[in-house]
């Protein structure tokens, strides 16, 4: 049904989106938790930073990442010298660009879950002898689990469709960084590529619907587990 090329695009897309989720989730949870707490110095700044990818043009994000993380960028050069890692124009780079772009969505979903939890339960945990980290791991996080799950699934679904930042930072390398939207774009660039683009678009559509349904089902399941 699918050609070898289409399979490769699918595998790349899944790989990039899932690695993006794995990379960004812990940081997103930390951000969301901090932002859900009472006011602290620099909260506005942190909030703004988390939302930056939502308001900046994706191409600009990709460009900024190139400047910072490219081989000659300050962080990129350091990474290459110390770890021998380079991110620009690689699959890892595509994941990172995707992670950055989906970060605001993830933080939002998780933050809402943290804000909805009953703060007084943290006091109850404290007087039972649970310290701050303990409270976070055993009370805050489990209670916010449906939100964390929702954030992860949303990030994954959105990650499958990330375009501007990925193509700028990671380029359009088949089998490496060519995800579904990039493949559609590449197909459209070719003469008689329209049929191929349509097939990929159909694939993309099916994936998106499946992702949405999966997100709904997961959320319903985790909420039910909490409310038993």
């Amino acid at each position: 049904m699918l050609s070898a090329n289409e399979w490769s695009v699918l595998v790349t897309s899944f790989g990039v989106a899932s690695r993006a989720v794995v990379w960004s989730l812990p940081i997103a949870i930390a951000f969301a938790y901090l932002l859900s707490r009472r006011a602290f110095p620099g909260k506005m700044l942190l909030d703004g930073l988390a939302h930056l990818p939502l308001v900046l043009p994706p191409v600009l994000i990709g460009f900024l990442m190139l400047l910072l993380l490219g081989r000659r960028g300050p962080i990129g050069a350091w990474l290459e010298n110390v770890f021998g890692v380079h991110l620009a124009f690689t699959a890892e780079g595509a994941s990172l660009a995707t992670a950055v772009m989906t970060f605001p969505l993830t933080v939002r979903a998780i933050r809402m879950a943290f804000e909805a939890t009953d703060r007084r339960l943290f006091e109850a945990a404290a007087v039972l002898g649970a310290g701050p980290v303990d409270r976070f791991l055993t009370v805050a996080l489990p209670l916010a689990a449906p939100g964390v799950l929702a954030g992860a699934v949303t990030a994954f679904a959105a990650g499958l469709g990330e375009f501007g930042a990925v193509i700028t930072f990671a380029s359009n390398v088949p089998g490496e960084t060519q995800t579904l939207p990039l493949a559609i774009y590449a197909a459209l660039q070719m003469p008689d590529g329209e049929e191929q683009a349509l097939r990929l678009a159909g694939l993309s559509f099916v994936l998106a619907i499946t992702g949405l349904a999966a997100a709904e089902a997961l959320q319903a399941w985790s909420r039910k587990r909490l409310e038993q």
């Binding site: 007084r120 109850a124 404290a126 007087v127 039972l128 649970a130 489990p142 909490l226 409310e227």
Partner: protein
Amino acid sequence: MTAGLVADLQVRRRAFSLRASFALPDGVTAVFGPSGAGKSMLLAALAGLLGAGIGRVEVKGRILDDVDRKLHVRPHQRGVGLVFQDARLFPHLTVRGNLDFAARRATKSVVTPQEAATYFDIQMLLDRSIRNLSGGEKSRVALARALLSAPDLLLLDEPFSALDGPRRRAFLEVLREMHDRFGLPMLVVTHQIDDVAALAAQMIALDNGRVVASGPVAEVANRSDFQALLDPSDQGAPVTMTSPKGAAQAWVRADHVLLANVAPVGLSARHIWEVNVVAVDAEASGSVMVRLAGAAGVLRARVTQAAAEELALAPGVKVWAIVKAHAL
């Protein structure tokens, strides 16, 4: 007196300020006062939930707060338990999960979760979600959980407010037994004077963020400034009653005491005491408050002006005080 709890608190939150200074021995202490007196705030401060800078707190010789030395032990390291009015059980855990949460973090072990469950009669609920528990069941689970955390001092913020009538009395009974069995010092907030008499050996009376009086219940109750804190219909005295079930303290309202100037005969009342009039105070309402003392302690009776004159009530006069047992 070996003081189990010494506190000198100065807390200010928005327009409300709490200033409380007291030293109390171990045992059960009632924190009594009208709503808005600062009772819950007092407990929150002692539990460390209001943060640093609240004054000085010492529990069993261990200093938990000292504003002068910039010392503040955080809530999870204080060894001070707190049972909240709304139980605050963890909704993502079962009853067993809630008990284990406390037991795993306890620095010493008083009882096992299994023993606590048996003791509080919740062993049938262990695998249930806390969402399906009744108010009384939640209170008992919260109490078991607090006991399992093995605190040096247990604070209880009206844990029985959701309960009424017999269930309330049963819960008070559990609290008292728990204290007797585990020797755990407790501070219990209540705004019902009957709870104070039934439960506590000593009390802190709070009004508008200030301590009106603190000390043994009978001593505090005997003070006129404490009586002024009470609703007139609640004014009275704590009395130790002996019944087949043993000795128990109860609050006897002045309105429920009859006086006779001869030894009554042929009465159905079970409690008749020979007492002496200590003082006769006219009240603004036109009635008369008679303070009495006898072998059983101090008693108060409210009578009409006419009755006071008819019985020739005056300090030193011997009378018989009659209390209907079911008023207790």
